[in-house]
Symmetry: D3
Subunit: 307 residues, 6 copies
């Protein structure tokens, strides 16, 4: 407790400076308070970014195993939340895309906090200007690759189908990891695979083992700019209850952190942590775990290819 | 515990029969799981109807002060929820209106459970076919009479402005009771009054006293078919925390029940109980109180003009 | 959202039709709101069935790994709850048995939701009319095979001792899996084994490994009609906190689902999922997991011997 | 923090000494962990006594308005809980009665914590040995005077009907205060009045005013030994949510304390505070309020007739 | 949703600008995350300021009854929290005092959020430089005027005794309103009065009536610079459960707001809202009510003498 | 339910007798309600001991796998809590040390319940009189071996640095197990190792495997009197959310119990279970798990070297 002023600034992620200009930072934190992709009963992830910021007070800056201080290396800024009204769906998508542009233009790595899983599409649209054909590494209980219908094309369940149709991502380098649970869509796995995506079920993950999975991912994604999309429902609901569409049988916190840390070396150009739904959370645990996942993303931003 | 079958049917309001045909009942219960009129952070009233049904297990059928069994008199049916997807806004409004039509045609009194305060507009549209110019008795912390903007005309804040523009209600017989709190709209009271509505603040209510208020309401509404709209945020948040837009300084449960019971004698042709938001509720209390409000509505349905 | 009527029926398990006649269905869902076998402080599992129904809204109908729609195959009906008053103990047991009879007579597979672990005995009494000597596969932290005393013979701790004395089950084909924790009864494991039961502790389970356990169970139970009894306290309290008698050290959700799915091929003639105690649950997680266990039971009902 | 030993004893009511012998105290605290009179879904008041003890840590010993230290005057002892198993109904009643006898014989005023409302009957049986015809002052949302049926005579709803039949109380001096809500029993008020009891609804209370009520009670009960029975559901559920059968429209904490304090001067020979159901409580508030009600009972024990 | 940047700043009170320089604002918001004055079990008010900020998202800027926008009039800044470590007691007091100095020097009205009730003393020390003998209007269930002991002079219970000894306040113009509950200190009321303070119990308040109280306060405090200290435990625990030392029998939200608004005209030179303890709060209600109290303080800052 | 008296004593750990004299017991339970070593926001572990006692009602006396009744073997007594005021830091340390002395002198094994992790130091000071150079086996997410600063030497983060400086422990036989998470201190692992301590990260634990770890611990600690310090944050937050400084990636309940049981054979002379923070707990789960850890400690007290 020593500082130039007698005051502590309120409420940013991990206490990093607030600001509206990402230049000068290697990473910028951005909240996306949008949850209109959620059809199910458990709506509320619009409150996700603020809940994560509040719980990030439990996270500290040094990683003891690496003697690393990611905040010192990256100088992150917290841009706040995208200014939007969720029920104005099309307008909100445009605002999210627009809010991403200063980062894309400045070459600053975004670290976003959802919002539900549909917030990825406008991010991909913005990133497309810099990365014509992103690879996607997507940890989630769901493929988010359903076809949807004409009346309602943009939901959490259709994100990557839309991104592929719009030419934003490379389907051959889009990998869904952790699929399980029950679905409204028949043939959900096949539908994803027919689009060229790789879809690994949670049973696939544990048959390979975490190390086997990691080896596979490094082979598939080496040398490519990768969009890392981490849906908090990749964790088991016993670990992360506050999500939009809980699916039993996910990974533990230890397994999740084990995987994240060992993605070091990949060229991860954007981090998207989504699906924290505070109204369904228990004592802020899911938001606190998301804050920890974000710290690991900062670690990965320090440890890209050649680092 | 004696009955023709060894089973108890699951999950209807107060255990009344489930069914899809309101004919044969004097009152029909209908859930409206829609919350897209809510701009604020506290979304989730789409879960309201099911929460109220669950808590209605705490409500019993006899009213001891009146030795009355409203279920025996009214033979209500629980129609379930309107089949809709909240984010499909226009489609949802049409579905709500359509779901009301069998009741309107059969002359069955609707007793609806929201959903947020924007569910009233499609109900009024349906009722308009039978009642060309409804009076409205609206208990709420908010006027719900803002002008809104062209991009987003239908929200919880604009319901009665829209209803008036569409000619569904009689502005001279539309009374908002209990206004208080802070608003996004400047001049909210004046805006309502400029439309011809009466707007009584909570201070107005307690200056008149509950009996004074009741006398006024009976004078204003006698002999007219009245739409009774009860927003649960008319209660103080200490009583009903699980609402969309809590506003401190509302009535207690005793005051609310006191007012409701003494509306007997009015010609109440529709009951609309809305704004229970289960994700923000505490131990189901708001839903349990809404179930009690609905029991009082059943009492009022037994005690119309001349009863 | 398309359907013959504009309404969705309220509150059944996974939205299957409600009804009082199980004929025409391959599986019938039945709630047993009885908790008088619980001596400990944590009473309240009488609320279990309704909590499971509410949480089953989170479960969807397709299993992606199998491209299977169990609801389409089995056409289940939700019979509601047995009509009983818990404190009328003997009468309640008779009512449970009587409520089972239409299923037994029609050859419909019951899928029951407790209630505490003592609800199994009256189910076994009813099933005895069709299956003279049932095998029992019992996943639980406790043996439920204590002797009890004359003053109070029927509790959660004595279910299988009583069932054996009444000749309802085959002790040589009764297997308790997952025993752990602390007990009021000295020599609890030996007492179970002296009755001919197999009792595997949780350490036994993990020494064999899940696959080793499954191989053992298939050998022991092949070709026999089996009563599958799944006490939710088989899961660790971190996964399923809302149970009557929590015992640390149980399985994760992934391990439990792994075991369940691989019981395919057994002749499971009744499914009994019990011990959800909503007053002690956290955000409905235990009830939501029980709903998922029940979905896996529906899967098993599709995948019996030869399927 | 100074004392003969370096230790603080665990867990008694307000930290008074624990003991098994009431002699030497003017008041003895006793918990009655029994809830088998509850038919409704909200069971769990067996946990009431321990919850009240835990929350009594928020209560301090001096009453500033009176400069009174009731603990110093009364030297209360906490006897612990009656040793019983709730589901052994008849046995439990006998144990409660037996546990009361040492107090009755020694002339020590009991201050009991339920348990549900059915725990009053065995207390009255014990007190009958000393007080042949007790007056009863009963604050409750319910009359607890239903007839019940032969199969199940002893429930929370029948306590005072049974007590009258057994000749334990004086019906002409039995007053129920605060009746409201909905009931399973038709004609509940008339049924109570036909037994000679006075039954005041909550509307009666507020028409008289609190001071009017108090004057009436002092006239009716002066000079008689009175059993004070305080059911926590006399409070509104917004104040005391954790009760067995919540009924909206009850008194506030201030009103309840106002009434209690002004019972000073009556000859209150037993205090019975019941119906705290911890599984349905919110943050321990109901138990904390019950502890405060008990402090007011200690005040009343200091301020009997002539004090 | 329109603004110069596409972003919304995170986490200030009501979204006002964050900053470290109060000049240019008529009011400055400051959090004081200190709770070492709390001896009781319910510690945690150090989390109060951040909880209030989070809940202030429920508060909007217009007061409809007055058609007033206090944010536009006062241009408040949120300075964040005082930088301190609670367990370093003396150092923390110095830091609080130092953090107040820029406001005192610039003549900016402080609006502080505790922290427990002991945070008032260092504020008074800082204000003393500008206001040699402040009047104090203190709404609280407790007098906070105990003598304490030499070993531990600075606690929530001794604030105003210390302030008087240090000559910071005018004892003849120090008024405690709302005293009730039980205390550790014998003669707590007398002890306060012996120091020259006025101490009104909650019974005093309701005997005078709210209007009578207000008239009295205006007479006593007119023409004097007044420190307004609002302890959230002035509210009843049913309204504000999340406080350090709950005391049943306090005011409702309506009564509290009624009193606050009618303090308009007094010369209130500092606003101190304390005692929100988030770990003991229920669904953030106490913090949300504190945010509303602060909005009323902003109203009062607009409506000083002559306004 | 049979006993000499009709009463059950309130509130001790597992219902063992309360008392102030440890002689006659092999183990004595002692609560230490102190949390002033916690700088972070999540204060409240002063409530830990009482929460553990309340949850110990879920623990029973027989361990079925061993047919062992530790209570019969050890005859434990519950001494209650150390009488202290947390904010009087130095005085509290002295009181803790003094409260330990009767146990040290009588050779009774202490089984303490924190309080935060700083309560270990005064315990070690007392034990030092009997065991000049204790070995320490410390399960924790943190090393608790930071240097701290002169202004504030005694916190949860500095316990073992201070103990080493005071010569209370043998640094070469002090082992920290389970280190992970993020820290305020740079080089936290190296700082611990430079003091001679062994520090095993959670990754180290799982690389060795639990059996490998156990073998290592038995080799390192055989033949030495060992202080067993179990910080509840060694468990993952999904298992034990109610701790002071949660760190994702810890062990499951099964893994923790597996480790504990296999410490049998070591000469464990004191058991210290700390860091339960009830305000941050979920449904009492962390306290319930701590009670179970304490039962395992009783088991270990029965199974020392040669047992």
């Amino acid at each position: 407790v020593s500082d130039a002023t007698p005051y502590q600034a309120p409420g940013t992620f991990m206490g990093v400076p607030a600001g509206a200009d990402p230049r000068g930072s290697r990473v910028a934190v951005l909240g996306i308070p949008y949850d209109m992709g959620t059809h199910a009963t458990r709506i509320g992830s619009r409150q996700g970014p603020d809940a994560i910021r509040a719980q990030s007070a439990q996270i500290r800056r040094y990683l003891p195993e690496f003697d690393l201080d990611p905040l010192a290396e990256l100088n992150p800024v917290d841009l706040g939340n995208v200014r939007l009204v969720p029920s104005r769906i099309q307008d909100a998508f445009e605002r999210i895309e627009r809010a991403m542009l200063p980062l894309v233009e400045a070459g600053v790595t975004p670290l976003t906090m959802g919002g539900d899983g549909s917030v990825s599409l406008p991010q991909l649209r913005a990133l497309h200007r810099r990365y014509p054909e992103l690879a996607v590494l997507h940890f989630d209980a769901h493929t988010d690759s359903n076809s949807g219908d004409a009346a309602e094309p943009y939901t959490t369940a259709t994100t990557f189908a839309r991104a592929r149709e719009e030419g934003l991502i490379d389907p051959q380098r889009t990998i869904h990891v952790g699929i399980r649970g029950s679905t409204l869509q028949p043939r959900a796995l096949q539908v994803a695979r027919e689009q060229g995506f790789e879809a690994l079920t949670i049973d696939d993950v544990f048959e390979r083992g975490l190390d086997g999975l990691l080896a596979h991912l490094h082979v598939r994604l080496a040398g490519r700019p990768v969009y890392l999309c981490w849906d908090m429902d990749f964790f088991d609901p016993a670990v992360a209850p506050g999500v939009c569409t809980p699916a039993w049988g996910g990974v533990t916190a230890r397994e999740g952190i084990y995987l994240l840390r060992r993605l070091a070396g990949l060229q991860l150009v954007a981090f998207d942590v989504n699906t924290v739904s505070p109204p369904h959370d228990v004592a802020g645990m899911t938001a606190m775990l998301a804050a920890r996942v974000m710290l690991e993303c900062l670690f990965l931003a320090c440890r890209g290819p050649g680092a």
